[in-house]
Amino acid sequence: MSNLNIPVYLDYSATTPVDERVAKAMTDCLTLQGNFGNPASRSHVFGWKAEDAVVEARKNVADLIGANPKEIVWTSGATESDNLAIKGAAHFYSSKGKHIITVKTEHKAVLDTCRQLEREGFEVTYLDPEDNGLVDINKLAAAIRDDTTVVSVMHVNNEIGVIQDIAAIGALTRSKGIIFHVDAAQSPGKVAIDVNAMNVDLMSLCAHKVYGPKGIGALYVRRKPRVRIEAQIHGGGHERGMRSGTLATHQIVGMGESFRIAHEEMDVENARVEALRDRLYNGLKDMEEVYVNGDLEQRIPGNLNISFNFVEGESLMMSLKDIAVSSGSACTSDSLEPSYVLRALGRNDELAHSSLRFTLGRFTTPEEVDFTIAEVRKAVEKLRDLSPLWDMFKDGVDLDSVQWAAH
């Protein structure tokens, strides 16, 4: 394999390729010769063998977050885990109160779940993060009311890669007796997780950001002190009644194996990926008018979210056809609104439109980073030559003083 694979994949926060070792473990769980049984079959060896595999996977997932395997509930992914956690806890504890606190930069799986609860009569406070993307614990504390039952704050942000101080929030919510849910879809293998040290009550996880398969995730549900949730999917009573449905052995085994590898190789991998991310940033930062979005220190190693002022993100991606990245530009969505995450940081709309998210990972090479630097520089230069805003900037015009014709 060459060290430069074109197109270069730098969108690891969208999803990751499945690690070969994971794929191998999964394919062993499908055919007649393999471990295909239903883990719930108690009466024969096919079921027992499948259950053994699920037990091992459960342990691997639990180990990575410092939990007991009995606290892991399999789901179809982080979206389902977020729904189950927030709706499940809000409903279960609704006799205590109907107020929920979350943050404006959360994933849609959390925000839309909260919107649904609002339609059902719950009240939700959406906190503004600071300009660096981090939550001010004092503002969170100030938002807590007597009827607050659930606080939901993500661990690692999917767009800007910043890491919230989960332990500080957990200490606060525990002292107030509030259920604390954490969307940790982006963190396994990137930041250490310890649900006990962090006082987390519910944690959403998924496999496909960790070199595991899509369509499988888990929800950590604390047992001591016991956290209760209302099931959202009813049926055969699997997963102690919290999530019914026949367990997908191959998916679960894939998630378990991906978490085992992530846990084991985390330190080495993060050092390598961070060096590559810094190489990328160093190759771009001397350009004029580039801005990093989100805190650079409290950030996972593989994320660089950067705005190239006076260049629009979608056209930039069009120039970078050999590089797979994503943008906060409105044009990449159907909504005509730029990234709500960048706007919540107080970034003006122009800079949100001009942003690119590079996310590096296990298979990124130095050659790919160098290729990307060269391509990005070339594309930005070309588009600035085409940009009337760049002209005006160079002529010393203050763009904020211009009366733009709104449309």
Binding site: E312, S315, T332, D349, L386, P388, D391, W404, H407
Partner: protein, 137 residues
């Protein structure tokens, strides 16, 4: 999103990129859009003594379809009188570039840019826009 070949062609080889002297009496400048909305087009036209557009230049901040729309427009207006140029409709741009529905606003912006450039030129020359073609007929 997949782009049409024509959008890609205009994007990769934009026609008539540049800037003309905005103070020239024969140059009309139209700037439309807003940075906060993700697109700004600057279209400039230059007329000869007979009032025919002899040159056009653009610069655009925006997505690929916005760049392609303005590049196309510079080609369309050349050789036209101001009245003929003013009659260009955004749907002609949509058809020529095969723009998808979410990109129609780019063509609208390009039509607005032509109108703004013509208005600027007419104002400079102390002309008022002639009555609409319908009422003249």
């Amino acid at each position: 999103m997949a782009y049409s070949d024509k959008v890609i062609d205009h994007y990769e080889n934009p026609r008539n990129v540049g800037k003309m002297d905005a103070d020239d009496q024969n140059v009309g400048t139209g700037m439309v859009g807003a940075p906060a909305c993700g697109d700004v087009m600057r279209l400039q036209i230059k007329v000869d003594d007979n009032g025919v557009i002899e040159d056009a230049k653009f610069k655009t901040y925006g997505c690929g379809s916005a760049i392609a729309s303005s590049s196309l427009v510079t080609e369309m207006v050349k050789g036209k009188t101001l009245d003929e140029a003013a009659a260009i409709k955004n749907m002609e741009i949509v058809e020529e570039l095969a723009l998808p529905p979410v990109k129609i606003h780019c063509s609208v912006l390009a039509e607005d840019a032509i109108a703004a450039a013509i208005a600027d030129l007419r104002e400079k020359r102390g002309e008022t826009a002639p009555a609409k073609a319908e009422s003249a007929a």
